[in-house]
C-alpha cells in the first residue's frame, strides 16, 4: 500500500519530443488541477521549429505547471518533478532540476541510437549520473502498447497514446481526478470512437500502474487553495486578450475589425477572434503588417473598433501608419505580443524590449497611450482598458503583452459581464461650431474641452463631409495649415491629449509600511517580482512593490511614490528601458536589474537581487 503525503505546492514539467503531445498532456493535467481547486500557473516552452528532427535537443517541447494550496504568482522556478519522454527531454531539462527532484522517464526511448543523437556516451539510467535524483524508469511505450493490445488500432497509433499513459500515472501520483480528461478525449476523437476508447484505456492503465507497482511508494495530495469565491476557469494570456477585445466591442456597441498578419506569438489572437463573427468581429488576414494596421485604421475611420495584433517585427512595420493615426486622431488598438529580438531573435521566447518602440518608435512627435497587462488573466482587463482609452480619447493605444503572458495560463475568476465598463461612444451627428456670421458648421478638429478628443464623424453622416489627412491641419477647422505657430500648437495639443488621459494611481504594496526599497515593475514580471517580495517578507525583510499598468501616460502619483523610497529597483527583461524612462522623467537614480535570456525571471534570482539592495540601503 502506498502512503499519502500532503504537500503545499508542486512544480511539474512535462517534456518530450514536439511530436509527443506534451502541450496537450500539460493542458489536461492543468484542467484536472484547476478542477481540484488548487491555484496554479503554467508555462509552455516550445521549439521555434515546427518539427525539428525527432529525438533531438532542438525538438524538445515542455510544459510546466506550478500548483499549490495557496495563491501563487509564477509557474515556478525549478521543477520538483520532470517527466521526460526521451533522452533529449532529459538532457535538455536536467540542468533546471534541483537535487532530490523526481524524474519519470520513458525507458523504452533510451536506446543506443537515441542516446547517441543527443550525445550521451553512456545510458544515464544505468550509470550513476542521476544519483542526486529519484528516478522512476518506466517503459511507457511498451506498457501502453501492451495495454492497448485488444484494440483494433495500429501499433504506431497505440504507441502514440503513451502521453495519456504518462498523464494517468502522474494524475495518480498527485491525486488528480481524470474524469474531465476522459470527457475531453471522447470529444476530441468523436469521429474515431475506437481511438477515443484506446486513449482512455491508456490513461486508466497509467493510473492503475501507479497504484499497483511497487516503484511508487508515496503518492501526494495538494489540498485546494482558498481563493476568492467565484466561478473560475483556466485561461492563457492570448485567449484572455482576445476575449477582452470581444467584450470591449460588445460594451462599446461597435463592430470590431481586426487586421493582422500571422506572427508568433500573436497569431493565436487572430485565430481566436476569427471565430467570433457572432459578436460582430470581422478579421482580415492582410498581405503584410502595414496593410493590417491600415485596414484597421480604415475601419476605425468608418466607425468600427479597429484593432491590429502583431509582435515586434510587425509593429516596426506599422510605425508609419500609427503616426498617421496620431495625426488623424482616430481610435486604434495595437497589440504587441513581445518576443525576444532584434529581428527574428528567439521567436518563441519572451522579452520586454519593445517598450521604447511603443513609447517613442515613430517619426515626429507622435505620443500614444501604452498599457501593459501583468498576468495571463489580466490580459482581459488590460485589453478592455486599451479599448476604453482608444475610443474615449480617439487615439492609438499600444497594448504590450509578451510571449510569457501569451502562452502562460492561470485561473481566472469570471467577471460579471454587466459590470464591465460601459464604452459606448457618440458619433458626431451635426454641426459643432457657429461662425461669426451665425452659420452653423462642422469642424472636425474642434475638441472636447475635457479630453481634448476630436469628434468621431464617420463617413455617411449627412452634412459632415470633411477631409482628413496626414498633413498638418489648423486646429478646429482641420484645413491644411503650414503655419509655424499652428504646428507648434497642434504638436503640443496632441501631446496634452495623451498626458490628460485619466489613469488610476499606482498602488504600492508595503504591508508593514516600513520599507526603504521599492521594487517597480511592468508587464509580465509581476509574478516573479511578487513571489520574491513575499519570500523576503516571510524572512522579516521590508520591501515595497508597485507595478505599472499604464506606461503612457504614467500614473499621476508616480513621482511622489518614487520619491518616497531610498532606493527603487526596476527589474526588466531588457537592458533597462523603463529605468531609462524613469531617470529621464523623474530624475530618480533607479537600480536596474536586467536579464534577456528569453525566459521569465525566476523568483529566486529576484529574491537574491532584492535582498542585496534591501540589506545595503
Amino acid at each position: 500500500m502506498n502512503t499519502v503525503r500532503q504537500l503545499d505546492r508542486v512544480v511539474i514539467r512535462f517534456a518530450g519530443d514536439s511530436g509527443d503531445g506534451m502541450q496537450l498532456t500539460g493542458d489536461r493535467f492543468t484542467a484536472e488541477t484547476a478542477k481540484l481547486g488548487n491555484d496554479l500557473s503554467t508555462l509552455p516552452n516550445f521549439p521555434a521549429e515546427i518539427r525539428a528532427p525527432a529525438g533531438t535537443l532542438p525538438g524538445v517541447s515542455s510544459f510546466q505547471i506550478h500548483f499549490a494550496d495557496t495563491d501563487i504568482l509564477t509557474p515556478g522556478d525549478a521543477p520538483g518533478v520532470l517527466v521526460a519522454m526521451n533522452p533529449a527531454a532529459l538532457k535538455a531539462n536536467l540542468p533546471d532540476l534541483p537535487g532530490g527532484a523526481t524524474i519519470v522517464v520513458n525507458s523504452d526511448e533510451f536506446t543506443a541510437r537515441n542516446l547517441k543523437k543527443v550525445g550521451y556516451q553512456a545510458n544515464p539510467l544505468e550509470d550513476d549520473s542521476l544519483e542526486p535524483y529519484q528516478v522512476h524508469a518506466v517503459p511507457l511505450t511498451s506498457l501502453t502498447i501492451e495495454a492497448l493490445s485488444n484494440f483494433d488500432i495500429g501499433k504506431n497509433e497505440a504507441a502514440r497514446a503513451k502521453n495519456m499513459f504518462a498523464l494517468g500515472l502522474i494524475s495518480w501520483l498527485y491525486s488528480r481526478p481524470t474524469d474531465t480528461t476522459e470527457a475531453f478525449i471522447s470529444k476530441k476523437f468523436a469521429a474515431r470512437p475506437e481511438l477515443a476508447q484506446a486513449n482512455i484505456a491508456a490513461l486508466r492503465a497509467g493510473h492503475a500502474y501507479g497504484e499497483t507497482t511497487e516503484s511508487f511508494a508515496v503518492r501526494y495530495e495538494v489540498p485546494p487553495a482558498s481563493l476568492q469565491p467565484g466561478t473560475y476557469r483556466n485561461i492563457t494570456g492570448n485567449l484572455a486578450l482576445a476575449y477582452g477585445i470581444v467584450a470591449a466591442g460588445v460594451r462599446a456597441k461597435l463592430p470590431v475589425f481586426l487586421g493582422a498578419y500571422p506572427i508568433t506569438p500573436a497569431s493565436d489572437i487572430l485565430h481566436e477572434l476569427s471565430r467570433h463573427k457572432r459578436f460582430g468581429v470581422t478579421t482580415f488576414q492582410a498581405e503584410d503588417e502595414i496593410a493590417a494596421v491600415g485596414a484597421a485604421l480604415g475601419a476605425s475611420y468608418g466607425g468600427a473598433l479597429g484593432v491590429t495584433t502583431s509582435s515586434g517585427p510587425g509593429i516596426a512595420l506599422k510605425s508609419e501608419t500609427i503616426s498617421l493615426a496620431v495625426s488623424l486622431e482616430l481610435p486604434l488598438v495595437i497589440v504587441d505580443v513581445q518576443r525576444a529580438g532584434p529581428s527574428t531573435g528567439l521567436p518563441t521566447k519572451t522579452e520586454q524590449a519593445d517598450l521604447m518602440m511603443a513609447l517613442y518608435g515613430r517619426h515626429g512627435e507622435a505620443p500614444i497611450a501604452v498599457v501593459a497587462p501583468c498576468t495571463p488573466a489580466d490580459c482581459f482587463d488590460a485589453a478592455i482598458e486599451a479599448c476604453r482609452i482608444a475610443v474615449t480619447y480617439r487615439t492609438p493605444v499600444m497594448l504590450l503583452s509578451d510571449g510569457y503572458l501569451a502562452n502562460g495560463s492561470e485561473p481566472w475568476r469570471l467577471p460579471d459581464v454587466s459590470a464591465l465598463p460601459d464604452l459606448t461612444v457618440e458619433f458626431a451627428s451635426g454641426p459643432n461650431h457657429i461662425l461669426d456670421d451665425g452659420t452653423e458648421v462642422f469642424w472636425p478638429y474642434k475638441r472636447d474641452p475635457e479630453t481634448l478628443a476630436r469628434p468621431w464623424a464617420v463617413p455617411g453622416t449627412p452634412g459632415l463631409q470633411h477631409r482628413i489627412g496626414g498633413l498638418e491641419k489648423r486646429d478646429g477647422t482641420g484645413d491644411i495649415s503650414y503655419d509655424p505657430a499652428n504646428h507648434d500648437f497642434m504638436v503640443r495639443t496632441r501631446a496634452a491629449r495623451i498626458d490628460r488621459i485619466e489613469v488610476p494611481d499606482v498602488v504600492v504594496e508595503d504591508p508593514e509600511g516600513e520599507a526603504d526599497v521599492l521594487v517597480l515593475g511592468w508587464g509580465s514580471t509581476y509574478g516573479p517580482i511578487g513571489a520574491a517580495c513575499r519570500a523576503l517578507r516571510q524572512r522579516g525583510l521590508h520591501i515595497a512593490q508597485a507595478h505599472l499598468r499604464h506606461l503612457n501616460p504614467m500614473p499621476a502619483n508616480l513621482a511622489e511614490v518614487l520619491a518616497g523610497y531610498k532606493r527603487v529597483v526596476v527589474p526588466e527583461m531588457n537592458l533597462g528601458q523603463l529605468s531609462a524612462v524613469l531617470r529621464a522623467r523623474f530624475g530618480v537614480d533607479v537600480v536596474a536589474y536586467n536579464q534577456v535570456r528569453g525566459l521569465p525571471f525566476t523568483s529566486q534570482e529576484l529574491e537574491t537581487v532584492l535582498e542585496e539592495v534591501v540589506k545595503n540601503v
Binding site: K35, G37, R233, F279, A286, G302, P462, G463, R467
Partner: protein, 343 residues
C-alpha cells in the same frame, strides 16, 4: 448602415462636389482636368455626397480628396488600398474610391494594390499615371521608360518599367480600363462603367505633368498622331482604328498584333469582348502598346463578375448573427466549458 444606397432628394450638380479648398496643382497639370471630369461625373452616381469617400496616398495626385465635397482621407504613401479595404469591408453603404499615382500604387504600394485586386474589394481605384514622381520633383517612376533622364537618373534609368494594365490583370483584377486626362467624355464613360462594377475597378488615367514629364502622352493627344496611335475599345465591336479604320487588331501566336485592315479578312479582326472570362485576351491587348505608346488601346479592357471579398466577409458575419443578438452570450463565451466554483 444599410446595404441600400439612398438617393439624394435634389439632384446634385458638379459645383456641389467642389470643396472650399483652393486647388494647388501647377498650372496646366493634367490633375485639373481629371478633377473637373470627376466633379461633373459624381452627380451621376445618384448618391448623397456623404455616402462617397475618396481615400488617397501621397503624391500630387493624392491631393485629390481635399478638393471634393465628400468624405475623404489623404493617407500615407502607397497604403490607400489597404486603408480603403478596411473602410469598404466595414461600410457597404459607402462608395469608396482610391486615388493614387504611378509611384504610390506601383512602387511603395505595389503589394497593397495587387492584393486589393486579388480580393476584389469593392473599391474604384484611379491611378493617375504621369510616368514620373511629381511631388518629390521629378525622379523616374516604375512606369518611366528605360533610359529616361531624370533628376535621379542623369545617365538614364536602367529599370524596365511596369505596364500597369498587364500587372493588374496578372493580379486577377475584375475590371480594368484606361483613359486620358484630356478626353473628358471618354474619361467619364470609363468612370461610369467603373462605378457600376461590383468589386475592384482599376482605371489607369494617363495624366500629363507639364513640369517634370511634359507631353509624355503627346502621341495620343496631338492631332497629327493620335488617330494612328489610339485604339478605342468598344465592347462587341471589331477593333479597328486609324484614319478610315485603316488598322485593325488580329490574333498572332499567343497574343494580338496590329494589321492593315485591307490585308485581312473581316472575320480575322478581333471583336472586343471585355467580358471574356480568361484574362489572357485583355493581357494581350495591354501588350499592344510598348514604351512608345504607338498602339495604345483605351477604354474598358476587362469587366467580369466575381464575388467580392467584402461581401463574402460581411455575409459570414451576418450569417453568424442571423438568429438574434449575441451580446447576451458574452458571459457564456467567457465561461467556456471547464469551470469550477469556489464558495
Amino acid at each position: 448602415m444599410s446595404d441600400k444606397l439612398s438617393l439624394p432628394i435634389q439632384p446634385l450638380k458638379a459645383k456641389d462636389f467642389k470643396s472650399d479648398q483652393e486647388v494647388r496643382w501647377c498650372p496646366g497639370c493634367g490633375d485639373y482636368a481629371i478633377l473637373a471630369a470627376v466633379q461633373s461625373f459624381l452627380p451621376e452616381l445618384g448618391m448623397e455626397r456623404e455616402r462617397i469617400c475618396f481615400v488617397s496616398g501621397i503624391g500630387c495626385s493624392s491631393r485629390f480628396p481635399y478638393y471634393l465635397n465628400t468624405y475623404g482621407m489623404h493617407s500615407i504613401h502607397g497604403r490607400a488600398p489597404a486603408i480603403a479595404t478596411g473602410l469598404a469591408t466595414s461600410r457597404p453603404d459607402l462608395s469608396v474610391w482610391v486615388v493614387t499615382g504611378d509611384g504610390d500604387a506601383l512602387s511603395i504600394g505595389g503589394n497593397h494594390l495587387i492584393h486589393a485586386l486579388r480580393r476584389n474589394v469593392n473599391l474604384k481605384i484611379l491611378l493617375f499615371n504621369n510616368r514620373i514622381y511629381g511631388l518629390t520633383k521629378g525622379q523616374y517612376s516604375p512606369t518611366s521608360e528605360t533610359g529616361k533622364i531624370t533628376k535621379s537618373t542623369p545617365y538614364g534609368s536602367a529599370d524596365a518599367p511596369f505596364n500597369p494594365l498587364s500587372l493588374v490583370l496578372g493580379a486577377e483584377a475584375s475590371f480594368v480600363a484606361r483613359t486620358l486626362d484630356s478626353d473628358r467624355k471618354h474619361l467619364q464613360e470609363v468612370l461610369r462603367a467603373a462605378a457600376v462594377h461590383q468589386g475592384s475597378a482599376f482605371v489607369e488615367i494617363y495624366q500629363n505633368c507639364p513640369i517634370f514629364n511634359d507631353d509624355a502622352f503627346e502621341v495620343l493627344k496631338s492631332p497629327e498622331s493620335r488617330d494612328e496611335a489610339l485604339i478605342r475599345l468598344v465592347h462587341g465591336e471589331p477593333i479597328v482604328f486609324g484614319p478610315e479604320g485603316r488598322h485593325c487588331v488580329v490574333r498572332n501566336g499567343w497574343g494580338l498584333a496590329v494589321a492593315e485592315t485591307a490585308d485581312v479578312a473581316e472575320s480575322d479582326i478581333v471583336v472586343h469582348d471585355s467580358t471574356a472570362a480568361d484574362p489572357s485576351y485583355a493581357f494581350a491587348l495591354s501588350r499592344l502598346s510598348g514604351d512608345s505608346l504607338d498602339h495604345t488601346p483605351i477604354g474598358v479592357f476587362r469587366s467580369v463578375r466575381r464575388d467580392t471579398y467584402d461581401s463574402i466577409v460581411r455575409q459570414q458575419v451576418s450569417d453568424a448573427q442571423s438568429d438574434g443578438a449575441a451580446e447576451a452570450e458574452l458571459a457564456g463565451l467567457l465561461t467556456g466549458s471547464d469551470t469550477w466554483t469556489i464558495l
